[in-house]
């Protein structure tokens, strides 16, 4: 009995030391309390000297002046000394390593499982502003789904001359095999990751819609978990909208697609396997949903029904959340070389015996040229005004716009229509003359494949640098679900260009990420209540 009391006391003391905000100071002195000790140490973060330059900074409005939603966070960060901050950094790195949060990079013929690059300082978005953004995202995905369904069915959008049919029917993402299909709820893109940026005025703009196999949501969820481990004390003073219900929402959405009416539809996440860069995410989502994580070789199609090979024999699958590109889904229909897919899967889907999310062919709207038409689609299909604006864009397939692009290559960003991950782009203002010439040649050779946009001065947020807080550019990827109902993540995945001045936020190219908080102010009501 005596021992027990002793043990619990020790644990309690230990607990206080671990979570108290000033462990360093408390350790050092028996005489002073932590506060006094702290003032004698050099501070590491000083918002007075933080300078984002001409960019819109989301946290700091002017020298030493945090925006109203970020005031508490800014003050808290300023109160930490170097030792605290170093300790927090280390704690975050350890948490990421222990939790096994990783992404895979393929380089030099080898797959490397790398730790997820994470910055400690959360990014803050006001709940009121987010509410508008959320509506805009929902609206956008609704319109996109109307468009995809129309393209594969009635094709009204062509007859009404909203868009040139050639732009769609010749697209590499158009799947003639899907014509005439009626998926449940007429939804094709069930999971969408839409990339947003803020311009120099702090306004959210849509950069692109990812409708094929958007990834990153697991990192959004894990970023929150890491922040909770490292800064538990911050969560007491802020009203931060939780993100954890995403996997539940995803599960419900997928279940709503089941072709069989039964209480427990069998849902599987189809992954290309452990060498895929997003394997961590596939496994994570399957785990959180209690779904099976399957590889192509785990599935077999018999009589147009899809089965998994289990220890008890074959077992029927109702819904597949596939994380494999269309062209690899079924070697019998698409790429015959694919070893990732399942022969007969497409036919089973055609017959309505299995649901695929996203539906094959949904990628037809994941195209940077189609992107430029989304505001038109919103008006055409929904008869609404777009809530979220696009980045102004020039279509190179249009003669006059192309001439403008070619004449202004040094001022514009040129993007290929169908690349993801930030590859194959030209950053005009930063490119060499030779690079610009090369792009001019490519544009002339294949105008359909390019669009150009002015270089938007991306907003910045502070990251914890070596010596102080430093401004870095960010974007934001919220995730939108659409099945019978729709759902938008509060916030999303913030990607940050860790290199000073860089706009490249992709984790495969030196980007990192941050936890993203949608924070309610004093008078805000809980959304949805």
């Amino acid at each position: 009995m005596h021992k027990r009391i002793d043990g619990s006391q020790r644990r309690r003391i230990h607990g206080v030391r671990c979570t108290a905000p000033k462990p360093a100071a408390a350790d050092r002195s028996h005489q002073h309390c932590g506060k006094y000790e702290l003032r004698e140490l050099p501070l590491q973060i000083d918002w007075q000297s933080y300078d984002p330059g001409a960019f819109h900074d989301e946290m700091i409005e002017g020298p030493g002046a945090p925006r109203s939603t970020a005031q508490q966070l800014a003050a808290y960060l300023e109160s930490l000394d170097r030792k605290d901050l170093d300790g927090k950094k280390l704690a975050a790195r350890l948490a990421i390593k222990t939790m096994g949060i990783s992404f895979t990079v393929y380089s030099d013929g080898q797959n490397i499982d790398r730790e997820w690059p994470f910055d400690l300082i959360p990014r803050i978005i006001a709940a009121r502003e987010w509410e508008t953004t959320r509506r805009g995202l929902e609206q956008r995905v609704r319109a996109l789904n109307c468009f995809i369904h129309d393209v594969y069915n009635e094709q009204k959008v062509f007859r009404d001359r909203i868009i040139d049919p050639a732009l769609i029917l010749d697209s590499v993402n158009f799947r003639p095999q899907c014509v005439g299909i009626q998926p449940r709820h007429k939804v094709w893109a069930h999971i969408c990751g839409t990339d947003l940026i803020r311009d120099e005025n702090g306004r959210f703009l849509v950069l692109e819609d990812n409708l094929r196999v958007p990834s990153g949501v697991s990192y959004m969820l894990e970023n929150r978990r890491v922040t909770k481990r490292v800064f538990p004390e911050l969560f007491e003073n802020h009203r931060i909208l939780p993100v954890t219900e995403y996997t539940q929402e995803l599960f419900d959405m997928l279940a709503s697609l089941s072709p069989r009416k039964q209480a427990y539809p069998e849902i599987a996440v189809l992954t290309p396997g452990i060498y895929n860069s997003a394997y961590f995410e596939h496994s994570y989502l399957a785990q959180r949903m209690g779904a099976e994580l399957v590889e192509g070789s785990d599935l077999v199609v018999e009589d147009d029904q899809v089965y998994m090979r289990t220890i008890g024999g074959l077992s029927r699958v109702d819904v597949i959340y596939r994380r494999i590109d269309d062209l690899f889904l079924d070697p019998a229909v698409f790429n015959p070389e694919s070893v990732l897919g399942v022969p007969g899967l497409f036919q089973a889907w055609l017959k309505g015996n299995v649901s695929l999310a996203n539906a094959p062919g949904a990628g037809v709207a994941d195209d940077k040229i189609v992107y430029t038409y989304v505001p038109d689609f919103i008006k055409y299909y929904l008869d609404e005004d777009p809530v979220l604006p696009n980045v102004p864009s020039y279509r190179c397939c249009n003669d006059s716009e192309r001439s403008h692009v070619l004449a202004n290559l040094d001022k514009l960003v040129v993007k290929p229509a169908n690349e993801s991950g930030g590859y194959g782009m030209l950053m005009g203002p930063r490119a060499s003359a030779a690079e610009r010439e090369e792009f001019a040649r490519r544009i002339k050779a294949n105008p359909r494949n390019y669009l150009a946009q002015p270089l938007i001065s991306l907003s910045t947020v502070p990251i914890l640098g070596e010596h102080s807080a430093e401004p870095r550019h960010v974007d934001l990827r919220p995730f939108i679900l659409q099945g019978a109902d729709s759902y938008v993540t509060p916030g999303g995945l913030t990607r940050v260009a860790l290199v000073k001045g860089s706009y490249v936020v992709n984790s495969s190219q030196g980007g990192g990420s941050k936890d993203t908080w949608v924070v309610m102010g004093e008078g805000d009501a809980v959304p949805g209540s």
Binding site: K97, V269, A286, A291, R309, T310, I311
Partner: protein
């Protein structure tokens, strides 16, 4: 449960258990050698033999001495070292995260990184002991987390089967080496007969210790430690969780949770019957090594049947 997932869970449990047993073995062996006089014929090469990796060892190392053995078994990139086993366990865990309790994965992940970083401690005896003990504790902890958080469904059945079969196998190897060394000592003309009994005691005590069996043995067998009783205890004791028969029983008990378990059940039963009917005093006199070889053939057959029944139906 997917066949592929079942297979990985099973192997993950086997690798974890193998890593733990290898750590035990190395720890006990280091201590044992301190107790035995220089002239005994027990040496580091015996340790290689237990792990069944003599050939691999010979390819990479020249002398079977303490440093080489410790490096070989702790950090060598080949498959028999603890760090390689933990890397395998972790890889299997990484690909079955969706069915494993998160904390167990985190435990395995952490242990893997620990083993990688602790490779340098192989040379120094006291650092090594500390490291091996940490590994043993962590493995126990991970199995504890699995036991505490996994539903008693097919997934957990594969954890238990993998662990039990690996354990039975490792224990039988330990008994085998103990017996072989005993014969060698008894026949060694250089060994002063007056010490033979003491050495025997020390040897068998170490075998027991390597399986954390010393205390339980003492409670069950109330007389001076001798080979016959130890072998009997480690092979035949139904109550002791590391005894071979106990582990075979464990497998039989989890089988009803799995579909189509007929063939495996039959093979396990066969192994149990044969084990029960072997008469230990005679075995220790002569024929124990052959008998152990025979047991291992049984284990291999059980493994093959498990694999055939639940893992293989893939194209």
């Amino acid at each position: 449960m997917l066949s592929r997932v079942a297979e990985r869970i099973y192997w993950q449990a086997r690798y974890l258990e193998r890593a733990e047993n290898t750590a035990r073995l190395l720890n006990v062996f280091s201590n044992l050698l301190l107790d035995l006089p220089d002239r005994t014929t027990l040496g580091w090469s015996d340790l290689v033999r237990i792990t069944g990796a003599s050939e691999t060892f010979a390819q990479h190392y020249q002398a079977a001495n303490e440093t080489n053995l410790a490096r070989f078994l702790i950090s060598d990139p080949c498959n028999v070292s603890i760090s390689a086993m933990l890397a395998n366990a972790r890889e299997n865990a990484r690909t079955t995260r969706e069915v494993m309790p998160t904390e167990a994965f985190e435990g395995i992940n952490e242990l893997h990184y620990y083993a990688q970083s602790a490779a340098g401690k192989a040379d120094d005896r006291s650092a090594r002991n500390e490291m091996l003990e940490h590994i043993i504790e962590s493995c126990q902890q991970i199995f504890g987390m699995l036991a505490g958080a996994m539903s008693r469904d097919a997934g957990y059945a594969f954890v238990r089967m993998g662990r039990a079969l690996e354990r039975a196998d490792m224990v039988s190897r330990m008994v085998d080496v103990g017996a072989r060394k005993l014969f060698a000592m008894l026949e060694d003309p250089a060994a002063p007969p007056e010490f033979a009994e003491t050495w025997q005691g020390i040897l068998w005590m170490s075998v027991l210790r390597s399986q954390s069996a010393y205390q339980m043995y003492r409670q069950h067998v109330r007389r001076r430690i001798n080979g016959e009783d130890v072998v009997c205890f480690l092979l035949h004791n139904e109550e002791f969780p590391r005894a071979v028969i106990h582990n075979l029983t464990t497998i039989s008990k989890v089988l009803p949770r799995l579909p189509n378990h007929g063939e495996v059940a039959e093979l396990v039963n066969l192994a149990r019957i044969e084990l029960k009917h072997s008469h230990v005093p005679e075995l220790v006199e002569r024929g124990l090594p052959e008998r152990i070889d025979h047991l291992q053939i049984h284990f291999a057959a059980i493994h093959d049947a498990i694999s055939r029944t639940w893992f293989l139906p893939r194209t």
